[in-house]
Amino acid sequence: MSHFPAHLLSMDDLDADAIGEVLRVADSFAEVGRRANPKVPALRGRTVATLFFEDSTRTRMSFETAAKRMSADVLSFSAGSSSVKKGESLRDTIETIQAIGMDAVIIRHSSSGVPARVAEWVDHCAVVNAGDGWHQHPTQALLDLYTVRQSLGGGQEGTDRFDGLRVTIVGDIRHSRVARSQITAYAALGAEVTLVAPATLLPPSLDGWPIAAVSHDLDAVLGATDVISLLRLQAERGSGAYVPTMREYSAGYALTARRALQLPPEAIILHPGPMVRGVEIASEVAELPSARITDQVGNGVAVRMAVLFLLLGQGSLDGAAA
C-alpha cells in the first residue's frame, strides 16, 4: 500500500497505486450508498468544512453528502455567506476555521493555487481541492476514472484495462482544470490521451504533458477512441473570446448525433457537467446508453467518501497525523 498524501491538491499528488486504492475503497463506499440507510460511523467526531468561493451546488453537495455519510460533522461556508465576505482575507478565514478545529477543508476557488497556499497555512488539517481556477479538480478526474472502470468491468481487472486505453479529451483544454486532472489521471494508469481542440483553446505549452497526441480534427480521431471526455466551453472563464463564434466551435467540436455514430460500439461518453446541450454535446447524444453522465454524478459521492477516508482515516499510533 502506498502512502496516501496529506492533502489532495492535484492529481500529481497520486501515483498509480494511490489511484488504484481510491477506486478500490470507493467500491466499498458505493455499497454503503446502496443501503437503505447509507451511513457508516467511519469519520464520527471529525469535522469537515466546505469552503466554496465559487458557486457550485452540485459539487459542494456531493462533498457534503460524502462527509455526512461517514458521520462527520460538516460546516459549509460559501461565497455568498457573511463569513466569506469581501474584505476578510482568505488567510483570516482559514485561521478562523482552524481555530474552530477542522480535520479537513474542501476548497473551491476561482484562483489557481489557493488550495496549495491554504495547505501551507493549516496544521493537522487535510486540504482537498474541489477545483482551483484553471489548475486541477482531482476528485472529478477520480470519479471519471471510477466510471470508466465500472464500464470496463470493475475491480482490479477494470483498473488494469486502462493500460493502452484510448482516451480523447475534447474542448477548452486551455482553461480547464478538469482536463488537467484528467490527463494526469488517465496517463498515470497507462491510458493514451489525445487532446482535441482549436489551437487557441490549447494551453500555450504542452511541454512535459503526458499525452500521446494533439489534434484539431475531431472527426479524424473518433473511430479510434475508447473514451471520449467532453469539456464545456467556459464562458465565465473567458473561453468565448478564443473562438470566433459558438456556432463555429460546435461545428468543429461538438459531439453531434452524426459524430456519436462514428464512435466504436463499446466507446464511453463522459462529461463533467453541467452540460450545455447543443454546444459541446447534442441533446440526443447525452441520452445514449454509452453516455455515462448520470453515473458520473452518482459515483461522485462514493469517490469523495473514499478520498476523505484515505486522507483522514490513515493515522498511525505514534501520533503522526495523516
Binding site: L90, R91, S112, V114, D132, G133, S205, L206
Partner: protein, 434 residues
Amino acid sequence: MSAPHELVIRGGTVVDASGERRADVRVVDGEVVEVAEGLEAPGSATVLDAGGCVVAPGLVDLHTHLREPGREEAETVESGTRAAALGGFTAVVAMPNTDPPLDSAESVRNVYALAQGAMAQVAVAGAITVGRAGERLAPMAELAALGVHLFTDDGDGVQSAGLMRRALQYATGLGVVLGQHCEDRSLAAGGTMHEGAWSSRLGLPGMPSEAEEVMVARDIALARATGGRVHFLHLSTAGSIDLVRRARAGGVPVTAEVAPHHFTLTDGYASGYDPVFKVNPPLRPQDDVDAVKAALVDGTADAIATDHAPHAPELKDLPFDQAPPGMLGLQTALALAVTELDLPLARILALLSWQPAVIAGLDPAGGGTQGGTVATGSVANLCVVDPTATWTVDPTALASRSRNTPYAGRTLTGRVRHTVLAGEPVVIDAEAQR
C-alpha cells in the same frame, strides 16, 4: 544628524571608473579632499574601517518605488531611503506611480520635500502622461525645470505608438530621457506570470515574451525616427535584449536596465503559487535569464536597477492572480550581483553606480554629485563594500516596511559595511545611523 567635519575611510581599496588602487579617503565638510595610502586621522575625525573592503562611489538606483504619497503602509520615503542606504545606494530615482501620480510640479515638489533629510538622494521620475493614463502628455517642461531628467509611466507602458512618438519628439527639445515599461496590454492582459510551460501546468494566465518585445521593437523604431532618448526599464527576455543589441550596433542610442530578479530567478519559482514570486515583467525561463546575464557581460545592459516594489503583507497573501506584482530589491541588489554574476566587482559597481548615475543625469557631467570618481573635489557619496562577507536574507530584518523579498533564507556574498551620503556616514558597520 549632519555630516561630521572630517571623515577618514581607512584600509580599503578605492574602485571607480578610473581604476582600482589601495587608498584611504579623507572627507572634509562633505567633500573628498585626499585619496592616498596611509592617511592620518586627527582625533576629532570620524574614522571608518574599510579593511578588506572596496571603497566606491555610492550606488544609484534607476528604479525604486518609494510608495509615498498614497501607499505609506507599504513604504515611505524615509523607510525606502533607509533601505537604499543599507544597500549601498546614495541616490534613488523614485517612480511616479504614486497616488497621486508624479505628473505635476506640485506632486514632484511634494516628494522633494518629503525627501529632505532622507538617507539617500531622491531624484524623481516624472510621468510621461497625465495620470499615467496614456492619453495626454504630462507637463514635461515644467517638471524638467524642477530637475526631473527621466520620465516614465512605469507600472504601465505607453500603449499608443502615436502618443509615444509625440512624447519622444517633445522630449528631444528638453534633453530628457523617456523610460519605458515595455508591456503591450493587449498581449499581456490578465497575465500573472510568464506564459510558457510553467504557466500552462499551473493553470495561470501568462504574459508572453512578445508582450515586452513588441514595445521594445516599436520604441527602437520611434527612437531612430525621432532622435529621442529611450531608456528601457527592467528588460527580461532574450528577444528584448537582442533587439537592443542590434539597435545599438545600428547606431540608435537606447539604454537598458535589468533587475536582479531577472538574472537570479526563473518562472519555475512560482510553482508553489507564492505571490512573493509575482512581478512585472514576470520571472522568465532559464534561457532568458542567461540572456540577461550575457547582456550584463557584453554591455548591452547599461545598468542594474532594483525595481524595489514593496507591498503590504496582506496583499501578498492574496491568491496569486489577485496579488500585486513586485519584489523588494534595495538591500539585496549588490549582493545578488556579486554572488550570481561572473563579473569582476569593478564591472558590477559600474552597473550599479556610475553608469546608472549618467542615465539618471545625476553624475558630475550632468550637474550632479553621484557616480563619477572618488577624487579630490568630488562630493562624498560613497559606499564601502566587503566583497567576501556572507549574510543570510531575513525579511524581518530588512529596513523596508514590507517583507516581500523572494530571497528569504538565501545566503549571499557581498555586504555593504558603510554608506556615506554627502560626507555623512548614514550606515556604519551595516547599521543605519538614523
